[in-house]
């Protein structure tokens, strides 16, 4: 079942890659892939384990800047830089998670928010290393041995291959005893502990996993656009990742894809409204939340099931009358 889903997904990627010739569309799809990674990571933390983070842009930025500084300024190989970025993010996420995940609910939100701001300010002010407000230029493009990944199409395939890989990882985690335990923590930490689940260890674990996903997305982003500035990793970006998760559907792997797609595409589609763009954008998000409070995935599935029962109603509505 899930193998078929992945095969279908892979096929879609390949077909999309072959059919797309417009470099703008390819880039848009690549951005969707990067955003899907961000949403997927946060969904593991927020949707499954029920722990909110309003500072995920920090890990996104940490991944992007670590790799960018090492490869652009210090001439490391980007792949070595990626490794360093992941190690650093793991370390930072672990150290942040230890005290932070003792909090929950609003307090955890505030805590992670603060962490996000600290990293943002650090990136902006440490200008000798990060370039400060004027950003960091000359981030090298990626290549795999002799194969250059500089072209839009090659990068598109790279990003979506990573997304597919992360999908598989997440699905395997979700379907395992660890996935069950995460959902149990979401539902009631106290009872989860009484089942023998080491709740604090698992929470730290999933926090680190989701931070690493964000760092991976940051790495892909930095080497795609070759220029990064602090504003790509500010508080609003954190909020946007949360929005993707909520709009797409909490605790849904495919919901991350839906949410990330919608939030990447909407601004592009709404350019026609010029000055009113943000108003329409906000209205659409509000409408979705009011009518599909469970997010797009659950909401659309429910609508589908409803439409099927309405369609069948003529047959079932006769039974009660016959009983009377």
């Amino acid at each position: 079942m899930s193998k078929m889903k992945h095969g279908f997904f892979l096929l879609t990627i390949v077909i999309a890659g072959m059919a797309m010739s417009n470099s703008y569309h390819l880039q848009l799809l690549t951005f969707i892939g990067i955003n899907t990674l961000l949403a997927l990571g946060l969904n593991m933390l927020m949707g499954y384990a029920g722990q909110i983070s309003l500072g995920h842009a920090a890990f996104y930025g940490l991944g992007a800047y670590t790799s960018a500084v090492l490869s652009a300024t210090m001439n490391w190989s980007p792949w070595l830089a990626l490794f360093a970025a992941i190690v650093l993010t793991t370390l930072v996420a672990f150290l942040v998670a230890l005290p932070m995940l003792k909090l929950s609910g609003y307090y955890l939100g505030m805590g992670t928010l603060g962490f996000g701001m600290i990293v943002f300010i650090l990136i902006r002010q440490w200008s000798t290393v990060t370039g400060g407000d004027s950003g960091l230029v000359g981030i090298p493009a990626l290549s795999l041995g002799p194969l250059s990944l500089a072209s839009g199409k090659a990068y598109f395939y790279l990003v979506w291959a990573v997304v597919l890989m992360c999908f598989v990882i997440c699905e395997r985690v979700v379907d395992s005893r660890v996935g069950r335990a995460l959902r149990a923590i979401h539902d009631g930490e106290h009872v989860a502990a009484a089942m023998g689940i080491d709740t604090s260890r698992l929470k730290v674990g999933v926090f680190v996993l989701s931070a690493v996903f964000a760092a991976l997305a940051g790495f892909l982003y930095a080497h795609l656009v070759s220029f990064i500035s602090p504003n790509s990793f500010d508080f609003l970006v954190s909020v946007r990742i949360v929005t993707m998760v909520v709009i797409g559907g909490m605790a849904s792997i495919w919901g991350s894809l839906l949410g990330a797609s919608l939030l990447t595409l909407l601004p592009e589609w709404l350019h026609v409204f010029t000055d009113y763009e943000m108003v329409v954008y906000g209205l659409i998000l509000m409408t979705i939340m009011i009518f599909l409070p469970q997010g797009l995935t659950r909401g659309l599935l429910d609508l589908y099931e409803q439409s099927r029962t309405i369609y069948r109603r003529p047959a079932t509505s006769q039974e009660p009358t016959a009983n009377r």
Binding site: R177, R180, A181, R183, A184, D187, G188, H190, V191, A192, A193, A194, M195, G196, I197, D198
Partner: protein
């Protein structure tokens, strides 16, 4: 098997348990009865490691449980059916049962888990029918069965139950308690906490009566059932005598 000595538990500065001692021997079914706020649940949470601020001594199979985290206590063989069932409502019945065996999955005891899944579903056949359904959609009685099944999945040697009869129709209470008797016959040791004193004492070997954080009475279940004080306070009998006596 379980020995609690002079246990004192605190919520901040409030002392909820004030020097309780009790013991549970292997293969015994012990009833701990008491009214709301007597400290029953607190006592149970202390045994399970969910409260870490306690004084006194809790020994399980001669090992002190002081400083043990809940997972370590489950690992040693104590499993709890919490008050109000506390199922994982959005998750399926099967997933709830599997969560009960969480630590055994970690030890990769897949064979044993499959066996126990079968035996729990034989114990409560309705769970087999509802296996794929979210736990939150079960009726109260079915939820209680699932909560007990989930606790059994850890393959405990001591089963603690916190008010399993709460909110259930009398025939369901009977059914749940009969199950406990059956479990006991199969060799389980059970500590049952109940407000429904009559039902609990009818199946128990011995009983303790907890009041304001202290054990006020203990003895064989039959003796407690016949005890005037217990009758007056918990069994809802002798009220006339009670009022006449005051008048």
């Amino acid at each position: 098997m379980l020995r609690v000595r002079n246990l004192k538990c605190y919520y901040g500065k409030i002392r909820a348990i004030n020097g309780v001692s009790l013991s549970v021997r292997p293969r015994e079914l012990i009833a701990l009865i008491g009214a709301n706020g007597a400290g029953k649940s607190t006592l149970l949470q202390a045994i399970c490691g969910l409260i870490s601020h306690w004084e006194g001594e809790i020994l399980f199979e001669k090992v002190s449980l002081r400083g043990f985290k809940p997972p370590a206590i489950v690992q040693r063989g104590i499993s709890m059916v919490p008050e109000g069932r506390m199922l994982f409502a959005p998750m399926s019945v099967l997933d709830n049962l599997r969560l009960g065996a969480y630590l055994r999955y970690r030890r990769r005891d897949h064979h044993g888990i499959a066996e126990d899944l079968e035996s729990v579903m034989d114990l409560f056949p309705i769970l087999r029918e509802r296996a794929g359904q979210p736990a939150g959609t079960l009726s109260g009685g079915e939820q209680q069965m699932l909560a007990i099944g989930r606790a059994l999945m850890a393959r405990p040697r001591l089963l603690l139950l916190d008010e399993p009869s709460m909110g259930l129709a009398p025939f369901l209470v009977r059914l749940i308690l009969d199950t406990l008797v059956r479990l006991k016959e199969q060799g389980m040791t059970i500590l049952l906490i109940e407000q429904n004193a009559r039902a609990a004492l009818q199946i128990a070997d011995r009983g303790y009566v907890l009041e304001n954080g202290q054990i006020v009475l203990d003895g064989a279940a039959g003796e407690l059932l016949a005890d005037q004080d217990v009758k007056r306070a918990y069994l809802g009998k002798d009220y006339r005598e009670f009022y006449e006596g005051r008048a």
